[in-house]
Symmetry: C2
Amino acid sequence: MKKIAILGTGIVGNTIGTKLVRLGYTVMMGSRTNNNSKATAWVEASGQNASQGAFSDAAIFGDIILNCVKGEVSLDVLRSAGAENLSGKILIDISNPLDFSRGMPPTLLPGLVNTYSLGEAIQDLLPATRVVKTLNIVNCEVMVDASKYGDLTMFVAGNDAAAKQEVGALLQQFGWNDILDLGDIRNARSTEMMLPVWLSIFIAGQNGHFGFKVVR
Amino acid sequence: MKKIAILGTGIVGNTIGTKLVRLGYTVMMGSRTNNNSKATAWVEASGQNASQGAFSDAAIFGDIILNCVKGEVSLDVLRSAGAENLSGKILIDISNPLDFSRGMPPTLLPGLVNTYSLGEAIQDLLPATRVVKTLNIVNCEVMVDASKYGDLTMFVAGNDAAAKQEVGALLQQFGWNDILDLGDIRNARSTEMMLPVWLSIFIAGQNGHFGFKVVR
């Protein structure tokens, strides 16, 4: 079974890492420093298929790497993980370029919205990596257990068809039965620009456990 | 029955105007000049409950006004319609701030995305008008016959609760059974920023007859 790296020790990285271990994958959680306390706590809770290390350790370890850090630090973290360690591999980018500097709710970072996106910036930073943008339009509990919340659609965008196929198989293990391929990585703009409506719905309903179905 | 004005003579104005006449409303189509050939053709095809005139004639006529012109000209058209003629009335804004200057697919107009929106700009231009942003996330055939395309969600955003209620009743006549109030007019940002994903889905599937369901 493939080895998977999780970049990030927050709630998103934890939730996805835990789900992957339960699915039988061997998972390394990467963080800024080796032996990060949140990462070691996750490893202790997750058993023998879980390990942790620096971002670069995780990048070396994984056949597939999941970017689960905040959008505003994603490019720095991926530089730290090392382009050479990510070369040829699949990077699943679930981040959003959220800008909290203007208060709540966040907007999107200027320069990474409308005519560009974080997904594209990551692909441009790592031209030898097969970046697939997905999962960024729901909260992390919905990400890993989609069918529990209804008949939902998940988008994928990326330049490599085989990588999208492989990511699609993983998404199915997360309960996604309706996967819509939007095309190349430029379509990351589209899904990142759904964050404002996600936030509007969340604020209106005070509930983050929802998703979108494209009825077609 | 209320009198409704349609600003714009394009396919969107035509489709909505025709639907409203069929529903029994009295409808005036407004355009830049009185006796615009597209407007007179629509009146001829639509019978005695249809009329046409300049934007300002339509604004005076309507109890409810629908902005169906392109986003890039919406503010100019509403100035031409006259703030005094729109005062106290409901303006349903279905436009999107599409920017075709960079080629296809369009992006959103700089200055009307992320930290501002066309819906907000219209409300700021017409502070005495009750602006409700809605319908802008689907094509015009889906707008007026939603239930034909499945169980779809429609968003409304605006500062006036009674206006949103009244618009909601009209939306139900268009076949919308799941109406989600996102809050005040600032939430127009959210729905306008769905246009890129609408375009991605349209391009991927070569089909504009789809909509979104918020599964919650």
